[in-house]
């Protein structure tokens, strides 16, 4: 049992922090980057590729680095700290994760190799209009004609869907179950729009659109899709942790510098006690994030699903508490788009609603309370 980073992991953190701070240490730069489509800085995407970050999770055979979940979590935390808009979580962790888990060796080498090199952006299209975090295909059906496949239906919203060179789409298979398909971005009808944290998402319409099955055609991949979604949730929790750490730090700094009534705000116990409560929630969330990340490394699919629910609930609760209090303790300045704290709260809400909020995770956990006596923390 060890909750500390080794030297290589610390070096990775410093390297990524250097890159992200240079790009977005000035919050105005982030604001500029998201001002128009694709909602991130293509140059920064290339720099992340150059550093090896975009290939981190993938095996060396697939053109990646073969790093583990702890390293991926470190990257997500650092991106969260500065609200970096580059779609690492959506494109590399989620869509790339689906390709890595389901693709044939040739598909992996091709798609992941180019993704790692920063040549392409992938997007996972798994949400149907009105859908709520289901691992089963809803609203898109796959049809087969000999060796060729087509997809028909709507996915909405799809994070980074309009920018994506290739879409990874889940769809109902003719013989039942859910398959995964790669669709050329340009082959779909796409309507791009801004998301409330500055990122972009799209409505993707497929109408007998040509698609290539990932891996063995016709195989049911529901369980694989669920696990990759759970891993994405856990990495999303890492990203949220980075956001919250930055918010707590910014709030404390603000309380020490902002003067009202002739004194700094930290003179008022009504405020410092609330800052203390933010810290408590941050530390509790941090513990579950580290734990869930380690479960990805060591656990079964079932363990990972459980960890995703647990960290999802804790981080969603903490996100609301810290995100709201950070705005309240700052006052009006944090309501503005030019200040990072309030935008951080917006990003936390994006992570929750995209990957599953407290209600979703609590419902799932509540279903299982009779399955165990005590919850065991250590393997």
């Amino acid at each position: 049992m060890d909750f500390t980073y080794d030297d290589e992991q610390k070096a990775l953190r410093e390297a990524v922090r250097g890159l992200t701070t240079k790009a977005y240490g000035e919050f105005e730069n982030r604001r500029r980057a998201v001002a128009e489509a694709p909602g991130f800085d293509e140059g920064q995407w290339a720099r992340l590729a150059e550093m090896g970050v975009l290939g981190l999770p993938f095996s060396e055979d697939d053109g990646g680095v073969g790093a583990g979940p702890v390293e991926i979590g470190i990257v997500c935390q650092e991106l969260g700290r500065v609200l970096a808009p580059e779609p690492f979580l959506a494109s590399v962790v989620h869509a790339g994760g689906l390709v890595a888990a389901a693709g044939s060796p040739e598909q992996r080498a091709d798609l992941l190799g180019r993704l790692a090199a920063g040549e392409i952006v992938l997007a996972a299209a798994d949400t149907s209009p009105g859908g709520r975090w289901s691992s089963e295909a809803e609203g898109v059906t796959a049809a087969r004609d000999g060796d060729t496949w087509t997809l028909t239906g709507v996915r909405d919203p799809v994070p980074n869907g309009a920018r994506a060179d290739h879409l990874v789409v889940n769809a109902s298979l003719p013989d039942g179950g859910t398959g995964l398909f790669v669709v050329e971005g340009s082959a779909a009808t796409r309507a791009d729009h801004a998301v409330f944290d500055g990122s972009r998402a799209a409505r993707v319409e497929l109408s007998e659109t040509p698609a290539i099955p990932l891996g063995e055609p016709g195989r049911d991949l529901t369980a694989t899709i669920a696990t990759i979604s759970d891993i994405t949730r856990i990495m999303g929790a890492n990203q949220a942790l980075g956001v919250m750490q930055a918010q707590v730090a910014a709030t404390n700094a603000y309380l020490k510098s902002r003067k009202q009534f002739g004194v700094t705000l930290n003179t008022f116990q009504a405020l410092t006690f609330r800052a203390a409560d933010m810290y408590v929630e941050l530390e509790l969330a941090h513990s579950l994030v580290d734990w869930a990340t380690m479960v990805v490394a060591a656990g079964s699919q079932e363990d990972i699903a459980d960890a995703a629910d647990r960290v999802g609930l804790q981080v969603a609760r903490a996100s609301r508490h810290i995100g709201q209090e950070a705005i309240q303790l700052h006052g009006g300045i944090a309501m503005t788009a030019e200040y990072s704290v309030g935008v951080g709260t917006a990003h936390l809400a994006v992570l929750e609603m995209w990957l599953g909020g407290a209600h979703h995770h609590l419902t799932r956990l509540a279903d299982r309370v009779s399955d165990h006596g005590e919850v065991e923390a250590l393997a």
Binding site: F3, L284, A297, V369, E374
Partner: protein
């Protein structure tokens, strides 16, 4: 980062679990697991069973019966004990005065008191709080005045937990009234059988007798019972309170209480709202336990990790929340608190209200949760 315990630590945990569940007196565990009160004799027998196995005071210096364990091993020992329903060693002895004497006591004091303290041959009480000195402990007014080699003690202590069982009491007394309040305090050990010491019970909202007032009227205390330096008591108090905070988050016991409540709940657990409350509490307890492990992993020897305030704060809140859930599940049956075992209302439901009321103390003692917020804001956040 790694989730698994090392083979060595896993073996250690199994060893603890085996001892606590197979060799420790079963009747004491049964009492704890059923949520009933322990008698003085049971508490003494429990600690002596632990001490005989070398497990009562592992955090003390090796010379005085401690084990040279890692902080993680200590944590596992503590958690396994709570999990098995083994009462943790009497805090006044094992966590408070023992480490203080080992650190600050004279050689003579160590030899005289430490072995008997470990074995609970002496039951210590804590004489810190006074009617006008609670969170502001340094305002204490009990005085000790020199008379030859002796000290003459006058004043009143309060909230003395289980003082009715106490043989000796470690006190903070004012030995210099003319300096800054923190600088005029000393620690004095007082034999509670001396003339002039009087223990008066305080009746509490749960109907129990857990705490007392202790009055001192011209009590003559030999000079060699002053601990550490004259007027150095505040340093000792801070050392002691820091230790108190570390052990005060009863994660294992609260987890067990919640698991037991699920068993007792029966059909009530079919209610989705109840299930959600349980799930939420289980999750927060998991987060707390993992935080305790992180704190353990990062503490340097001796000095408590500043985040231990998080453990105290959240640990007591969750302990109280589980007791509230038990009360809610008991429903009208909770009113049978005074009924005997002939009652058709199960024991856990009859005890639910007194337990709920009793545990309100948890966010007050050991440095109230407001004091913990102050520590977090000042020490950790620099506010």
């Amino acid at each position: 980062m790694q989730l698994e315990l090392s083979a060595e630590d896993a073996a250690f945990r199994d060893e603890m679990r085996t001892f606590f569940t197979t060799e420790f007196p079963q009747d004491i565990r049964d009492t704890v697991l059923a949520g009933r009160h322990l008698t003085r004799e049971q508490i003494v027998a429990s600690q002596q069973a632990l001490n005989a196995a070398g497990l009562a005071v592992p955090h003390w210096p090796v010379e005085w019966g401690g084990k040279d364990w890692t902080t993680l091993q200590r944590h596992l020992w503590h958690e396994e004990m709570q999990r098995a329903g083994v009462p943790t060693p009497l805090a006044f002895n094992a966590s408070m005065i023992g480490p203080v004497l080992a650190q600050f006591g004279s050689q003579e004091q160590k030899e005289r008191f430490l072995p008997k303290t470990a074995n609970l041959d002496i039951w210590w009480s804590q004489g810190f709080s006074e009617p006008d000195a609670g969170s502001d402990l340094a305002s204490l007014r009990t005085t000790a005045v020199r008379d030859g080699d002796d000290w003459i003690v006058n004043g009143q202590k309060t909230w003395t937990t289980l003082g009715q069982y106490g043989d000796w009491i470690f006190t903070l007394v004012r030995t210099d009234p003319d300096v800054k309040k923190q600088a005029g305090i000393s620690m004095l050990l007082i034999d509670m059988t001396l003339d002039g010491v009087e223990v008066r019970p305080i009746e509490m909202i749960d109907g129990g007798h857990e705490v007392n007032e202790v009055w001192f009227s011209d009590v003559r205390v030999p000079g060699d019972l002053l601990v550490g330096e004259l007027n150095g008591g505040w340093t000792i108090a801070k050392f002691l309170l820091g230790n108190e905070r570390v052990g005060v988050a009863p994660v294992g016991a609260t987890k067990r209480a919640l698991a037991t409540l699920k068993e007792n709940a029966g059909d009530l657990l079919d209610d989705p709202l109840t299930r959600a409350r349980v799930a939420e509490l289980e999750n927060e307890l998991l987060a707390l336990e993992l935080t305790a492990l992180r704190v353990v992993a990062h503490s340097t020897d001796g000095a408590p990790h500043p985040a231990s305030s998080v453990l105290k704060l959240k640990g007591t809140v969750l302990q109280q929340a589980v007791s509230e859930l038990a009360l809610d599940l008991a429903g009208p049956g909770a009113l049978a608190s005074g009924a005997d075992d002939d009652s058709p209302v199960p024991g856990w439901a009859r005890r639910s209200a007194p337990t709920y009321l009793n545990l309100r103390k948890a966010s007050i003692y050991g440095g109230s949760n407001e004091i913990q917020r102050q520590i977090i804001a000042r020490t950790i956040l620099g506010l």
